[in-house]
Symmetry: C2
Subunit: 296 residues, 2 copies
């Protein structure tokens, strides 16, 4: 017997992905921030994502419920933003033990609804089931013009690497209070200047490796340019920043067009190289060190 | 403090539904088998549903994983069938403890994929999170021509009430092995003869009350006509039959058109009355007795 703990989250997911089928209208399957599907008879595509938010994993029992709700919807909207899509519909499964205070769940819904309202999303359904601890399972859809979704697989050698906002130390509070970069993602897609994009949820180093792996390229980061809240180590390896990470072949044009009203800087932190899967910081190779939900 | 256990599942859900917003493209929000949304720029509408499948609630650790997977996707497809829609996309969140045997999860995916393939659905994403017991959270979409979704709210006094297949004793095995009535649901929508429809997941009596409540009508059932696997009590109150329950103003035309190849009968079991919220069996009022996940 092989347990999930022995395999680790990432290997288990990639094994399960291999078992999935395909379909003519499926443009991008599992493995990006969202799946992308054609909407037959229209000029649009739809993106789909799910996010679990589990007590004692993604939040603590003492956290304010409105902030937990903000995080739950925020994670989904961040995935949708990372494709450059406009958020659309949200469904929520709640799992709770019988002794769960209902007012806490009402507070979560207040937080979820407030963030949905801000970004044009609407909660349209879900379910409630009995379990041993409080969990939320969010499902979200978004929409964008056909063929315009920004994928992890589009980076090319010579691209500049950019990030929105500051990285690291999210556990200090940002992991609950962040605003998903929905308008920024939509702007970046609209610009036509971006080759690859994703959101930073598992830490800059881990997530950039996803772009490298799926694009068949490498990257060279300039440590001094990485916008951060704590140390370089924290900026590289802390998770749950929910900033956008992207590459472009036209860095000057993109930087010049960035609107001041977004309230976060778009900062160039390095370049894409032809050295496949190699992530270098100030010239030195960085060893892989991914956050693993199933390991200590 | 009021706990979820004190409130009960149904009251908690209806309280949360009241907090949800609305949107111009939202045709039917939470409260039916699926939400129904317009697909802008097309002649179609999309339906959305979620279903949790939790160890020791919806299945037991000794159940074969392929059957658990069949049930997980089957519940979602049954909700989609109950609107008369064609299944489209499925996403799956898996929650598991670190000591979970990975082969069991692979077996679940085999069962899910087999049922998806049979009914034209495709699993396109999901996530994996650590928890205390095995849970699956399924999210599904379907599609149908604009304005044709079959709702719980369409029953009219004088309608005949029909059900597909036999009711009761699902725990004997059917709750894992059932085939969702996807082709039957699509046929019934296409017929143009059906006024209201839903799937029977919480038991005939409980689910028919949803149609009565949302349509503002009553119903009179003829006990001898209810197709059943066990006693009348079991046919009325057992859950997880996953048959379709529907009403029509043209019972003879509908019964005459029912294709033999469906392999289940379409059986008339009673009539809709004007006696609001009253459910009668052989003339006697039936007291409400709903299955409650949060109560013993």
């Amino acid at each position: 017997m092989t347990t999930i703990g022995e395999m680790g989250e990432h290997k288990a997911i990639s094994r399960l992905i291999q078992t999935l089928g395909s379909q003519a209208d499926l443009v991008v399957g599992a493995g990006d921030d969202c799946a992308v599907c054609r909407m037959p008879g229209s000029g649009f595509e739809q993106v789909f994502t799910t996010d679990p938010v589990v007590e004692n994993v993604h939040f603590l029992p003492g956290d304010e419920p409105e902030r937990v709700g903000n995080k739950a919807v925020g994670r989904v909207l961040s995935d949708i933003a990372a494709m450059g899509a406009q958020p659309q519909w949200i469904l929520v499964n709640v799992v709770a033990p019988p002794e769960q205070d209902f007012r806490f769940i009402e507070g979560i819904y207040r937080g979820m609804s407030a963030l949905c309202t801000r970004f044009g999303a609407t909660i349209i359904g879900g379910d409630l089931a009995k379990g041993t601890c409080l969990e939320l399972h969010l499902f979200g859809t978004g929409v964008l013009p056909r063929g315009t979704a920004l994928l992890r697989s589009g980076a090319r050698p010579g691209d500049a690497v950019f990030v929105t906002g500051k990285l690291g130390c999210s556990l200090g509070g940002k992991h609950l209070d962040f605003m998903p970069r929905v308008e920024e993602g939509s702007f970046l897609r609209d610009s036509g200047l971006v080759n690859a994009m994703m959101d930073v949820s598992d830490g800059l180093a881990t997530d950039l490796r996803h772009i490298l792996g799926q694009s068949g390229v490498g990257a060279e980061l300039d440590a001094a340019t990485i916008p951060r809240n704590g140390t370089l180590e924290q900026a590289l390896f802390d998770g749950e920043d929910f900033e956008l990470l992207l590459t472009t072949a036209q860095p000057d044009a993109l930087a010049a067009s960035w609107p001041a009203h977004f309230g976060c800087d778009l900062v160039r932190i390095g370049s894409i190289t032809a050295e496949q899967d190699a992530l270098r910081v100030d010239g030195r190779l960085l060893a892989a060190k991914a956050f693993e939900h199933f390991q200590a």
